[in-house]
């Protein structure tokens, strides 16, 4: 007879419903899956066959046809195993009641009949909830991921047999809902600004950068603590809101990098791709248009250590997502838009040998090689990096000093205030932070009085600033004014902003 059960498959960052239709009829023994299954779905034949037998049930010796509707969309992954198994059992009159169609069945089957975790549970559940589905059966190990969604019943089960008893007897309790706002591990970072000794200048620059969402690069000799500073950036960013956390978790869930025990990502991601990473791995791609590092760093930080070591082509790829904050990954089989709103943090040495301009050290690089090194980061990319600061190597005495430095929590409060001011200001614009301001907004919100203008002008003349630095300086000055709770940009704000430049361009 014919049976119909519900499952979901993944496309990009959302799930789409798949009706698993199973027809078991008399005829030559045959097992066919139609409806554009890809290899992993086709292979489920064998898994389902063994899983049913090893669960102590009978696999029908008849002609089995399975249709995955809609039949024109390619389905991938092993999400559908459970639904196919239940469908076959139902169609072969093995005592599965009609209540089976109330459940969305997701899970990969092991040959022994146990349920194995799958990636992408969170986006699937969110999409299914939107489509009006209330009851889910998912693998036990995906339980944490599903527990943050309110108003649904999720049954996290360990095997095919448990799933069947849930459908027939309603034997299990749903996963307990966890309120995201009540969880307390939003600040469980291993770094903290209070462990950074000295570096008052860099600390302040970090605060400004995070407050306005500005991208930042550190220029300094090896061992100056650039990486340590970068790691502190997530700790002073405002807490992830639930929506932000969901968005970030979705991406990690889809790419399979989500830690099972975490469930939801409540801390800001900090991604550090190695400089041998390919453009595809950073931007996203592959046959199925999977998200790349920039999307995994969504709502967090992407840190490029030794920036000039990255291939130029890879760095240039970042320009468009830095501007649009989304990336559309297009491949033959799919075209998917992933969010990619990340803060770019880079570090570089002053020259290939690292000693150029460092006191008491001799730089052996030729001027041409220094120029070549720095030219790896193109002008258009630099335009998107508002702060370029120098980081000094720390003296030994600073390292061992016991003086208490300001902690991340204190800095974070100021940052959160400045972000609030920005939110208020950009209410009618489509942006949230100062760094996203275009020429129009700069004109509107960053009016400079004549004193500021004259200071800026003399700074340009005296300090050899390039013309393209102007809007960067004004944007940073706006953020400094916000931190200073000042409505207008004052001369001191401009002067401070000018201080956060380096001579890269």
């Amino acid at each position: 007879m014919l049976a119909k059960v519900k499952s979901y498959a993944l496309f990009g960052l959302s799930g789409f419903p798949v009706d698993v239709e199973v027809d078991v009829s008399s005829g030559l023994v045959k097992f066919e899956i139609v409806g554009l299954p890809d290899a992993s779905v086709k292979e489920s034949k064998e898994r389902v066959n063994s899983a049913i037998k090893n669960s102590g049930r009978k696999f029908p010796n008849s002609k089995i046809t399975i249709n995955l509707a809609p039949a024109d969309v390619k389905k991938q992954g092993a999400y559908l195993d459970l639904a196919i198994a239940i469908g076959i059992l139902k169609a072969s009159l093995a005592g599965i009641p009609d209540t089976a169609k109330d459940y969305v069945l997701i899970g990969e089957l092991s040959l022994d009949g146990s349920l194995r975790p799958v990636s992408g549970i969170l986006p699937i559940i969110i999409s299914a909830k939107k489509d009006g589905y209330k009851k889910f059966i998912i693998p036990y190990e995906n339980k944490n991921e599903a527990s943050f969604i309110e108003g649904i019943e999720v049954y996290a089960l360990k095997s095919l047999n448990e799933a069947i008893s849930q459908i027939t007897e309603n034997k299990f309790l749903p996963v307990e809902y966890i309120d995201y706002n009540a969880t307390s591990d939003k600040n469980s970072y291993s770094s903290d600004l209070k462990y950074v000794r000295g570096q008052a200048f860099a600390r302040r620059a970090l605060e400004v950068a995070v407050a306005g969402g500005h991208n930042i690069t550190f220029v300094g000799p090896p061992g100056a603590g650039k990486t340590m500073l970068a790691k502190c950036i997530p700790t002073i960013m405002p807490d992830l809101t639930f929506d932000e956390a969901l968005e970030t978790t979705k991406i990690h869930s889809v790419s399979g990098t989500l830690k099972r025990e975490d469930g939801i990502i409540s801390t800001r991601p900090f991604m550090t791709p190695h400089h041998t990473a390919s453009a595809v791995s950073i931007i996203g791609g592959g046959q199925n248009a999977m998200p790349g590092i920039i999307s995994l760093a969504h709502n967090g930080v992407m840190y490029l250590d030794e920036m000039p070591e990255y291939p130029r082509s890879v760095l240039e790829c970042l320009r468009q997502p830095l501007e649009d904050r989304v990336i559309t990954v297009t491949r033959t089989k799919a075209s998917v838009e992933y969010p990619a709103s990340f803060m770019l943090v880079g570090s570089l040495n002053p020259c290939p040998c690292g000693n150029y301009g460092v006191k008491g050290k001799v730089c052996k690089c030729s001027l041409a090689s220094i120029r070549k090194y720095r030219a790896k980061i193109s002008g258009p990319l630099l335009d998107r990096i508002d702060l370029q600061i120098n980081v000094d190597s720390v003296e030994y005495n600073d390292l061992v000093s016991t003086a208490e430095e300001e902690s991340s929590a204190t800095v974070k409060k100021r940052v959160e205030f400045a972000r609030k001011v920005q939110c208020e200001r950009f209410k009618k614009d489509k942006i949230k932070i100062n760094a996203e301001m275009g020429e129009k907004q700069i004109k509107e919100y960053c009016a400079l009085d004549s004193e500021c203008e004259s200071i800026l002008k003399s700074a340009f003349e005296r300090l050899d600033l390039s013309a393209r630095a102007r809007s960067r300086i004004i944007k940073v000055a706006r953020t400094i004014a916000d931190l200073d709770m000042s409505e207008n940009i004052k001369p001191s704000h401009i002067l401070e902003a000018v201080g956060y430049r380096s001579n890269l361009d």
Binding site: V362, N390, D392
Partner: protein
């Protein structure tokens, strides 16, 4: 526009593949070089004997009015003035050199070539910001004292000398390539700036000659020759500034050099010059008193209270931003604007990282 003598020299110098010694030899054959046009035989013979038939044939074929007119039109179109050793405007200082350039291809005000006072400033491309700020300061004081600055066009000390003096129009920049390649120089903006402000850019190479690494030391003899004194701002043992210093020594010019500390990089040349008797230079007066240039008054700078506080810290050797915070008890966001302001006023300069030192300005 050019008289026959000049034309003859420009014609000979126009053969870019002919070496200097052959050009010089041809000129020396003739008692009066303008005879070349009436009696080219000796030149042909010289080329045939010392080079080959081919060189002679090219010379022979070129020696006609069409070619010569085309040559001069070409120079004219490029806006180049040519000063030959037979010209009145040829710098008398260069005539004393052993291998004085036959022609100088110039853009700008050629009267600067025979300025009463000329002073060269050279240094390596990797020069610390502190030294650069001093160079700029000295350069602006020198031009105020009616001295013409002679330098190159490289990044570093050369550019700072130009920055300090260009606005007065008293800067001569000596290039190591033909004028067609000036526009390709990384610092072409400064070439244009010098010409615009009434300065002078010259080269001994005719327009089509591309720059070659070995031209630079050769070019340096012109810088050394054109000046009365030279300041070596920086340079390590391999620096091109060494050539300039050596030439200046040969020509009997005054040599000035900045002193460098034990740990400082990029100053080996200066220190060794001082050991050999160059004048140790710390202030503008060290130059002006020896060279007889007029002194430059400096007005005492008045600073607001907090700027003064930070400035005094830096003057007293508290150079790191972190240390200034400890000393002054000011917050970082209060200090940063002050530091930028002092930088804009030209009183301090970053010596690398977040370390600041005072400039030569008082």
């Amino acid at each position: 526009m050019y008289n026959l003598k000049e034309k003859a020299i420009i014609f000979i110098d126009g053969f870019i593949n002919l070496e200097y010694k052959h050009k010089r030899a041809i000129i020396n054959i003739y008692e009066d070089i303008e005879d070349l046009f009436d009696n080219p035989k000796p030149a042909y013979n010289y080329l045939k004997e010392n080079l080959n038939d081919n060189a002679c044939n090219i010379f022979k074929l070129s020696l006609n009015n069409d070619y010569i007119n085309a040559l001069f039109t070409k120079y004219q179109e490029r806006g180049i003035t040519i000063v030959t050793e037979e010209s009145d405007s040829y710098p008398s200082r260069l005539l004393e050199l052993d291998f004085n350039p036959l022609c100088l291809y110039a853009k700008g005000d050629i009267s600067l070539l025979n300025s009463k006072n000329t002073f060269a400033i050279v240094g390596s491309r990797k020069t610390s910001k502190v030294v650069l700020s001093a160079v700029e300061d000295f350069s602006s004081k020198l031009v105020n004292a009616n001295v013409t600055i002679v330098t190159g066009i490289a990044q570093g000390a050369d550019l700072s000398a130009i920055k300090g003096g260009a606005s007065s129009g008293k800067v001569i920049s000596v290039m190591a390539s033909g004028s067609d390649y000036w526009d390709l120089d990384p610092n072409r903006d400064y070439v244009n700036k010098i010409i615009e402000k009434g300065g002078l850019v010259i080269s001994e190479y005719s327009p089509e000659v591309p720059p070659r690494a070995y031209f630079y030391p050769i070019r340096n003899r012109i810088i050394a020759g054109l000046c009365d004194g030279v300041l070596i701002a920086s340079g390590d043992s391999k620096s091109g500034a060494r050539h300039t210093a050596n030439y200046a020594l040969d020509y009997g010019k005054e040599i000035f050099a900045f002193p460098y500390g034990l740990k400082d990089s990029g100053g080996e040349l200066c220190n060794s010059l001082i050991k050999d008797g160059a004048r140790l230079t710390e202030t503008y007066e060290d130059i002006s008193e020896v060279m007889g240039y007029s002194a430059q008054q400096e007005s005492e700078i008045q600073l607001p209270k907090e700027e003064k506080l930070v400035y005094e810290c830096i003057v007293n050797g508290i150079n790191l931003v972190d240390d200034i915070i400890v000393k002054t008890n000011l917050k970082i966001f209060e200090i940063m604007p002050i530091i930028t302001m002092l930088e804009i006023k030209g009183l301090i300069v970053s010596s690398g990282g977040n370390e600041y030192v005072k400039t030569a300005k008082k």
